[in-house]
């Protein structure tokens, strides 16, 4: 929950800093001094957005998975390993076992 909050705040802060920079530059252009430096608070806002964004992205990552074969094999079953689906028989009793009881014909 808090990760998404961080990410949203970081995005908003960055967008706000970008818009402020644009406004400041248009102000400088209107005043006739296009080489003026950026005010410090916009810089601080961008750095804050960076830190918040990093925190949010790291916390928002999906849970880590094991990389060993043994841990993967713990999740499998004998039926899955021995299924041999290429050779499976499709004419089975399943047709009779799973037919709906109101079908009438067996």
């Amino acid at each position: 929950m808090i990760e998404k909050l961080f990410l949203t705040l970081a995005t908003l802060a960055l967008l706000h800093a970008a818009y402020s920079t644009y406004e400041h530059l248009s102000l400088l252009k209107a005043l006739g001094k296009p080489e003026g430096s950026l005010p410090l608070d916009i810089v601080y806002e961008s750095i804050l957005a960076l830190i918040l964004g990093l925190l949010g992205a790291s916390l928002n990552a999906p849970p880590l998975k094991d990389i060993t074969w043994a841990s993967e094999m713990k999740k499998r079953t004998i039926d899955g390993m021995d299924s041999r689906l290429g050779f499976a028989h499709y004419k089975s009793r399943g047709k009779f076992l799973f037919a709906s009881p109101h079908d009438g014909k067996i």
């Binding site: 060993t68 004998i78 041999r84 290429g86 499709y90 047709k95 009779f96």
Partner: protein, 301 residues
């Protein structure tokens, strides 16, 4: 049961190769009715194929025909679609029709893996086991890396009680997938059935090594064996008992018997006791615990 969870279950079944046809049918039908397949993009076709096969298994040929129609419309001349049509034919037509269909396709393209497998499956199902066996041997000669083929060969041999040949087929499987403890377990049990106890006990211990080797600092005494590890420990105990009963036994693979048989037996007994002592879900005691404890306590030889 939401669309998302149904799609996830279908994907898990595909990844694990399980044949849970009823569950796949239930979930797949939900997705089909909510037209969820369009959202998947490329994955939609394999999901439809999965649903078609599950419907044939469960006997709902109407849904199967619907899925097949969708797939066939999109992929006109695909060999994979030919295989699906063949499977659909197998479900209702007599086997000779299906065999003739497969023979026609194999004449045009004799290296079609899926169709060849279906042909061997139909031959086995209709009782022509020897013919199926010959074709399967030709198949694994041609396609050595096909694990399914070797496993099917092992199964056919085992069903005819030729456990040595079954073991040979399984040894090829072990070469192809050395990281898989399930096939080592199958090989160990096949060796036990063909009375090669020293080899069997070695392979059971290999299974334990593969599945229970923990890198963490947890001591062996504190970890509980789960899953196929328990089956492997049962195998170790059985083999130890048979080796102890028969002092001069000859192993057909010339494997020597293990040296500390008594210690192995004790270890297997202790591991089985731990496995059956741990409380399962809701704190209940494992079924059969008393029987296991009694059996495990009987002395060697």
């Amino acid at each position: 049961m939401s669309l998302q969870s149904a799609l996830e279950r279908l994907a898990t079944y595909r990844a694990n190769n399980t044949r849970a046809s009823q569950d796949i049918f239930r979930n797949g039908l939900l997705v089909l009715q909510k037209s969820g397949f369009k959202k998947l993009g490329d994955d939609a076709w394999i999901s439809l194929e999965q649903l078609a096969l599950a419907s044939i298994d469960v006997g709902r040929l109407d849904i199967a025909d619907q899925c097949l129609q969708l797939i066939a419309d999109n992929f006109p001349n695909s060999p994979r679609v030919d295989c699906l049509i063949g499977i659909r034919m197998e479900a209702t037509e007599p086997p000779e029709t299906a065999l003739k269909y497969y023979a026609d396709i194999l004449e045009a393209d004799s290296a079609n893996v899926a169709i060849w497998k279906r042909r061997i499956s139909v031959l086995r199902r209709t009782g022509k086991v020897e013919k199926a066996l010959n074709e399967l041997v030709q198949f694994v000669d041609t396609f050595y890396t096909d694990v399914e083929g070797w496993l099917e060969l092992a199964d056919i041999y085992a069903s005819c009680n030729q456990y040595d040949h079954s073991f040979q087929a399984l040894s090829h499987v072990l070469l192809l997938t050395p990281q898989n403890p399930f096939y080592v377990l199958q090989a160990a049990e096949t060796a036990y059935t063909s009375e090669d106890f020293p080899l069997a006990i070695k392979m059971f211990l290999t299974v334990v090594d593969m599945t229970d080797a923990d890198d963490s600092e947890q001591l062996l005494q504190e970890s509980t064996p789960l899953g196929i590890t328990v089956r492997a420990w049962f195998g170790v105990k059985l083999c130890a008992r048979r080796i102890a009963q028969n002092a001069n036994l000859k192993s057909s693979s010339n494997t020597s018997a293990p040296k500390n048989l008594g210690l192995l037996d004790e270890l297997a007994a202790e591991r089985l006791r731990v496995a059956y002592s741990s409380s399962g879900q809701k704190g209940e005691i494992a079924k059969g615990r008393q029987e296991v404890f009694a059996w495990v306590a009987t002395p060697l030889a």
